[in-house]
């Protein structure tokens, strides 16, 4: 295979992995792309600390876990603590530099809904719920969000505030007494987005190779803003792509057909 042929999902995962560094302590919550975290660990960030909310600290799985509590996460971790300790000392204690969240619904200010579609009391669809997200979104020093673009996912208004991003934008976090940065990066299968310094609205800063502005707008439920100089995301390198594909192949072999979370 050659790096010239890669899928948008692969580009998304690899772009997300590039945002992580060796010194990061990363909280890989439910639904978050642990693929990106582990690609980072297996490429440019071998010393990154990965924490799963099941209590595993400094884990290094050889395959992607199916759940946030797979046995290999514990077997390869530096240590495994209780879940109350995880949420009290490690997340609330301010030890996490990056919290990684996925979203069923996302708005332009990085507010996320994974709770219900429709009315909370009489939902059209009852989604799994927030899990660790409400506190991940406010306790981690910053939050990265990753999702595939679709108009039903990236919406003008989310049905439920599962976790708080920048609220109505601007200094809304500060007004609620939240001192952490909140969402600082949105990685989709089409582009990289960063919040505008003032309005905090997500703005496209980089388009993935071959992606047009129209494509981004067509798959987004709000009027997309692009920053002044939109860059092109460098394509996956040989190493990035082979690392990701090997990881997924190992995962398929290990879990028999399951993709891993």
């Amino acid at each position: 295979m050659s790096p010239s042929d890669f899928t948008p999902t692969e580009m998304m995962t690899i772009a997300a992995s590039r945002a992580l560094s060796n010194d990061d302590v990363c909280f890989v919550g439910i639904g978050a792309p642990s693929a990106a975290c582990n690609v980072a660990r297996l490429t440019h960030a071998p010393n990154i600390t990965l924490i799963y909310e099941s209590g595993t600290i400094g884990t290094a799985p050889s395959v992607l876990p199916l759940s946030i509590g797979d046995g290999e996460l514990c077997e390869t971790a530096l240590t495994t603590v209780s879940v109350p300790e995880m949420f009290r000392y490690w997340l609330q204690g301010g030890r996490i530099s990056v919290g990684f969240l996925g979203a069923a619904q996302l708005d332009r200010f990085g507010n996320i809904n994974t709770t219900v579609i429709g009315d909370y009391r009489h939902p059209k669809v009852r989604l799994p719920g927030g899990g660790g997200a409400p506190e991940i979104a406010t306790a981690c020093k910053e939050v990265f969000i990753t999702m595939k673009q679709a108009t039903r996912g990236m919406v003008e208004k989310i049905d439920f505030y599962t976790s708080f991003g920048h609220g109505e934008g601007g200094d809304h976090r500060k007004r609620l007494g939240i001192s952490t940065k909140g969402p600082t990066l949105l990685i989709t299968d089409l582009a990289l987005w960063k919040p505008d310094p003032h309005t905090k609205e997500f703005t496209v800063v980089s388009l993935h190779p071959g992606v047009s502005r129209d494509k981004v707008q067509d798959t987004c439920g709000w009027k997309v803003r692009f920053c002044e100089r939109v860059e092109e995301t460098p394509p996956p390198t040989e190493i990035e792509l082979s690392t990701l594909r090997d990881l997924q192949a190992r995962t398929e072999r290990a879990h028999g057909g399951a993709k891993g979370a």
Partner: protein, 283 residues
């Protein structure tokens, strides 16, 4: 003081209609055998507490045991949604259920507060989160020193907690290893605790001093059920049966298929079947 009993006796003695009950296990050591016995005994109007209600609560809800579910993440781990729980919430089948929804942090803190004998848990949470608006059990409290508003939720105090663990000693002390989750807190928060174990060993004399051990006097009943966590896993004994989780997505999608499966695999079965189910999964 822990009694050694059959699973039938342990459930009959400790779980009553209308009880508040926690079957805990955070993706690991999930007490499937105990949940199936509760289903066989047909308990009713239970309030089910669990951070991550998964297949077992989907089964208990689908069989109509639950009146209320207190939870923070309702998914089939690594697979998708809980279709029986959704059917109960969205369509009231087989009965409508009340839900009390929290974040993981709130649930973990509520167990911790229960174990600590406190009436409530205090933590920094729910800031900007919608659950505050829909769950009246989420309140706030001001730090008397800084004035900071902190979240407060009632402590979990189950009537009974069921967990699955690796080992019990002959005295009834229990050892949990690996991903220990909230099980220690769930046991200490409860009035009564029932523990199914993979193995009963002579004593714990050679254990490292700092492991997760529950003394026999914190436990009502210890039951030897090898494989009792299947299809979840038991660190050091057997791996997760992922095919069973994927299969559950199919089974739970259809009311009749679900009902048939439950009759064949739960109602007409017993705890002894679990040992065989993990045969192929031992590392």
């Amino acid at each position: 003081m822990a009694k050694f009993q059959s699973l039938r006796e342990a459930v009959a003695e400790n779980l009553r209609d209308g009880d508040i009950v926690a079957f805990e296990g955070f993706t690991h050591l999930i007490p499937h055998a105990a949940a199936h016995e509760a289903i066989r005994q047909g308990r009713r109007d239970l309030t089910l507490i669990r951070m991550t209600p998964d297949v077992i609560y989907d089964q208990m809800i689908g069989m109509g045991l639950a009146r209320k579910v207190v939870f923070s993440y309702a998914g089939n781990p690594g697979v998708g949604l809980l279709r029986r729980m959704r059917d109960a919430i969205e369509n009231g089948w087989p009965r409508s259920i009340e839900t009390v929804e929290h974040s993981h942090a709130a649930m973990a803190n509520a167990y911790e507060a229960g174990a600590a004998g406190l009436p409530c848990a205090v933590f920094r949470g729910y800031r900007g989160a919608g659950l505050k608006e829909v769950n009246p059990e989420i309140k706030s409290i001001a730090c008397p020193f800084t004035g900071e508003e902190l979240a407060a939720v009632p402590a979990h105090r189950p009537d009974v907690t069921f967990i699955h663990a690796q080992k019990a000693s002959k005295r009834g002390d229990v050892l949990i290893e690996g991903i220990v989750g909230v099980q220690k807190e769930a046991v200490l928060a409860a009035r009564r605790a029932v523990v199914t174990v993979e193995e009963i060993v002579e004593d714990f004399n050679d254990l490292h001093p700092n492991l997760c051990v529950l003394p026999h006097w914190t436990i009502a009943s210890v039951v030897h059920v090898p494989g009792g966590a299947h299809p979840s896993y038991a660190h050091g004994y057997y791996d997760r049966d992922n095919a069973a989780y994927l299969e559950w997505d199919r089974i739970s999608a259809d009311r009749e298929l679900f009902t048939r499966w439950m009759k064949e695999n739960v109602l007409d079965a017993g705890p002894e079947v679990f040992a065989a189910r993990v045969k192929g999964l031992q590392g």
